[in-house]
Symmetry: C2
Subunit: 610 residues, 2 copies
């Protein structure tokens, strides 16, 4: 029998901070050594942070990253940490061509003992890795204390023809997978199944380590896993937690593998042949999973916190309308960085109800955030005196005066402005560009309205269970949503009920389904066509919307890329007259040419939400 103690460092890298990320590797190495680990593994592109986008194409950065890897190896030796083998992701360069590669560096004895380059590059969803990296062509097995360790990087694991499919042939004792795998709701279940399947395929234990933390619109949830070849979970890290997980692994003597059909594409590096003296293994923890609500809430708070901290903001500011969106945003901000760094501004207009102001003030008091009130009537009036504005333009003007108030205070005092719009509004353009869309970050950007309610209730329940003050006023949750930009206005004057709307949006935005399919599924034809047209129509607004954390299968932004100038409109077949039904067999019944374009309302959509 052979043994190996492996430490998985589920850590939070900062894009471009080579120095800081390197320092994190060293401190993780001290931690791992203290706990007797023989191998320390860090996530994909940890030294550079991930994703680095076009930084990958800059020679000066690529050289600096490679230099960092080598100085790291020397630093580890200086600190007597070089008995341990350290596997860490970095930006590398292809031998000969110098083309950028997504690599794992294997450090030992003060040197870079081996390099592995990612072979399968994701180029879908939020990923553009064909743009950046030359794919690796070789598998790698590193022998550590007699244990043959195969290495793979993220997409390599998801691909059926990846290194895992050849690991058994290579006679691997252990498969290490380093990842930069962004959070999506329920992805943790998918990951565990995948790891178990690949471990069985590789016929050896598999150790999966992932980043944690936020990077612009992405949030990494960690969820590092170690599974046995029979699918037993040997260790599992927490979700969104910064931690080093240590696991003891035992291996049988392997059969020899002279019959390896993949030998021609394998690189073997021997670091140490001699198995360790047998020792008593330590136990390792399997963290419990979070509930769906806690998982999504934590993802948003993590993305928000890291955007604030990594970009050096001391404080945030947001408008408080008394509505549920701004209330949840405020609570998330307080949970992210503490209430003493959050500034709430109530900006009542003539149309603001009393409860909207009292709810906003109650929320601030219950949360313990700063609160001020800036009535916008004087600014609104100044514009009405200068130019003729009425109808929707006048409604949007109120939202814009609020946006200008927030950005001016931000400009004056250095706060980051948080936009409070949710995904349902952003989808149908139910927001005012340069109004409620003003902000440096938009925490709810990828949360449908129905999820906003769900998380608000969940957060209040948690507070109640813990005997804390319940932060969100009940009436903010129960009142019918209103933009309060004209008397007695309700969102439902302009939109379907949010539960219906979110159902339609889920089909159209997240699953790219056609109007015809939605109608076949029983949605009302006029509702479907109206909602889908609103979504297409609002593309130009989304282009100028602030970034926000992706939590869904398909977030707006780099995850869903549509032209602004776009005459395609989804149409469902009309009720079947013989003629019509003939038409309706024609797919192009789904097409409508014309000027109904996404950008025809520069002033920004019907209304605002807050």
């Amino acid at each position: 029998m052979k043994q190996l103690r492996v430490a998985l460092a589920q850590k939070n890298a900062v894009v471009g901070d080579l120095q800081g990320n390197t320092a994190q590797v060293v401190s993780a190495a001290f931690d791992a050594r203290r706990r007797g680990a023989h191998v320390l593994v860090l996530p994909e592109m940890f030294l550079t942070g991930y994703p680095i986008e076009d930084l990958a194409l800059r020679d000066s950065f690529a050289q600096a990253a490679d230099y960092r890897l080598q100085t790291l190896a020397r630093t580890l030796k200086r600190r007597d940490l070089d008995d341990m083998v350290i596997v860490v992701g970095n930006l590398g360069r292809q031998a000969g061509t110098d083309a950028p590669q997504n690599v794992a560096g294997v450090l030992h004895g003060g040197k870079v003992a081996a390099r592995y380059a990612k072979q399968h590059l994701p180029n879908y969803g939020v990923f553009d890795e064909y743009r950046y990296f030359a794919p690796g062509q070789r598998d790698l097995i590193v022998r550590i204390h007699g244990v043959d360790v195969a290495i793979a990087i993220c997409e390599d694991l998801w691909n059926d023809d990846g290194p895992a499919s050849r690991a058994a042939g290579h006679g691997a004792d252990l498969l290490l997978v380093i990842n930069g795998s962004p959070y999506e709701i329920n992805k943790d279940d998918v990951r565990l199944d995948l790891c178990a399947r690949r471990a069985a395929e590789a016929d050896c234990p598999l150790a999966y380590v992932n980043l944690v933390g936020g990077q612009d619109e992405l949030v990494f949830d960690g969820d590092s896993i170690v599974v046995s070849p029979i699918g037993q979970v040997l260790a599992r890290a927490g979700q969104f937690t910064d931690e080093v997980v240590v696991v003891d692994l035992a291996f049988d003597q392997r059969k020899s593998v002279d019959s390896n059909p993949y030998a021609d594409r394998l690189d073997r590096v021997v670091i140490s042949d001699e198995p360790l003296e047998l020792y008593t293994p330590i136990g390792s923890a399997v963290s419990a999973r979070l509930s769906d609500e806690e998982e999504v809430y934590t993802a948003v708070v993590t993305g928000l916190r890291d955007y604030i901290e990594k970009n050096g903001f001391e404080t945030v500011i947001l408008g408080l309308s008394g509505g549920i969106d701004s209330a949840l945003t405020a609570v998330m901000a307080a949970d992210a960085i503490g209430p003493d760094r959050v500034y709430g501004v109530s900006m009542p207009s003539v149309h603001s109800s009393d409860h909207s102001m009292t709810d906003a003030e109650d929320l601030s008091q219950q949360l313990g955030i700063y609160y001020m009130s800036v009535p916008i009537a004087p600014m609104v009036d100044a514009f009405h005196e200068a130019i003729v504005i009425n109808g929707v333009a006048a409604e949007n003007l109120q939202a814009r005066m609020r946006g200008m108030t927030l950005i001016s205070l931000s400009n004056q005092e250095g706060h980051l402005v948080l936009a409070t719009g949710n995904k349902s509004e952003l989808a149908v353009g139910y927001s005012t560009i340069y109004g409620d869309a003003v902000g440096g970050f938009a925490p709810l950007k990828d949360l449908p309205k129905t999820w906003v309610w769900r998380l608000a209730k969940w957060r209040n329940d948690v507070a109640a269970q813990m005997g804390e003050v319940v932060p969100i006023p009940e009436s903010s949750i129960t009142k019918p949503p209103s933009a309060e930009l004209r008397p007695d206005q309700l969102d439902t004057d302009s939109l379907p009920d949010y539960h219906l709307l979110d159902d339609v949006l889920d089909d159209y935005v997240e699953n790219d389904r056609s109007a015809a399919e939605l109608v076949r599924d029983g949605f009302d034809l006029d509702t479907v066509e109206r909602v889908l047209a609103m979504v297409d129509h609002a593309e130009y607004k989304r282009r100028q919307y602030p970034p926000g954390p992706k939590v869904s299968l398909k977030a707006f932004g780099r995850d869903r890329r549509l032209p602004i100038t776009n005459h395609w409109r989804e149409k469902a077949p009309r009720a079947a007259t013989p003629a019509a039904s003939e038409d309706s067999d024609a797919p192009e019944a789904a097409s409508e040419a014309g000027s109904g374009s996404g950008a025809a309302e520069p002033g920004g959509g019907p209304l605002v939400t807050e």
Copy 2:
């Protein structure tokens, strides 16, 4: 000898407008038949428009596009246009997998006689075709009147291993290349060289047809070309012109090609074996090239016009400061859609000079656009009474009141707002988010300040030469640039001279060069580090900036993708003390970790330009 008359339709497609684009094919076919053409060729993905981005992933759209191709074939037959062979680009689907492909459909006799799928997919710069398309694996030769015609699509031509490299082996008589090749300055010269090189390689004439017109941030310049195998230009269309070019080609009897080394990957389709009776060829035109200034100016005007028209706007509105940026933008808008559809608004503040107002009014009169003046003092005062704002925040407030005035008028009256910022300002963040950055489209977005001056002078010179009223007041060109947000303010208080700035930006933004390289080239170290830090710092502002036409090698937007959260900072080695010079050998001397992030000034940069 064999003959063939080929018509190249250099046309302007609209993304998603299957019906309208199909109608354009039919009218081009009538035109081509009238002129006796045997083959009509239309650009890449002409039926769908290009690029369609994630529309390619929507089944309903892919089905409709394929259906359109088939109905087009039937329509052409109904109109007796089906003797002609028509080659047109479209969205296709891979047999078996239904994966999207970028295809050329060959129509004849009321049917789709053949399909070719693009083999080489660009995935750099503005292109993401690995995201969308499954690459084709087969070459195609279509025999038309005994002439063997090979087909290729855009990137196929740029790749050394593309169909052109096998065309001679296939015994091709003619190589047809359909393209969606966006304009970049000087790209026409590159294209001609490429076409000549490939024609020689294929040992046959090459006909290259490209799109014209604007699609969001891209402008297609046409520049369709026919070259002989010895590099002689047989025909060349104009730049940015919507036209059908007809050329007569003659071919020798070819040697037989039983020895084709690439036969295994070739599909052959015979439409007609019998050569045409010999006829007298018509001559064809070779259009002259535009000057650099006219070329760039026309590219911007084309992109602006198509954004306005394809999105159904009647009118545009912009702020007129008396400065050169707003002046050039106004002239471009008037040239794009006519002065009677352009609204200029002067929005003077207490800091506005007299000349800024008179220059704005003179411009409007000379152009014949609508003009109004809205003093912003009352709106500015209303904010100062409501909240404490001073310093840079107060300067930005003025810009924001102008932005709100424009967007409110747009909202009220339906104008498209044009932002007037230039590329130099956008690069260093010398603009106010939600202020002068307000707009639905930004014509100067990819024009450095020095180019703004160059085009303004050029446009005035043209007017003078043609005996027209010179549109741009001389003083707008000659006055030192100022944002006029505080007394006696000049851009050079905050920025290097624009000629120096644009030199640095060209190296850093367009050519991704390092601070060290710039300093080696003789730029002042402090200037380089200051400018580069400003560029990195302004990334968050660029994310919320309106789209504008790409004319340079690398435009901001999808052409240059950098993270907002990014601690990498370019540093050049300091003057060599022994210690320092040792450091400076370390590439990571170029790195600076810390909180100096791109988003630390939510209020939006130092100042505004107009």
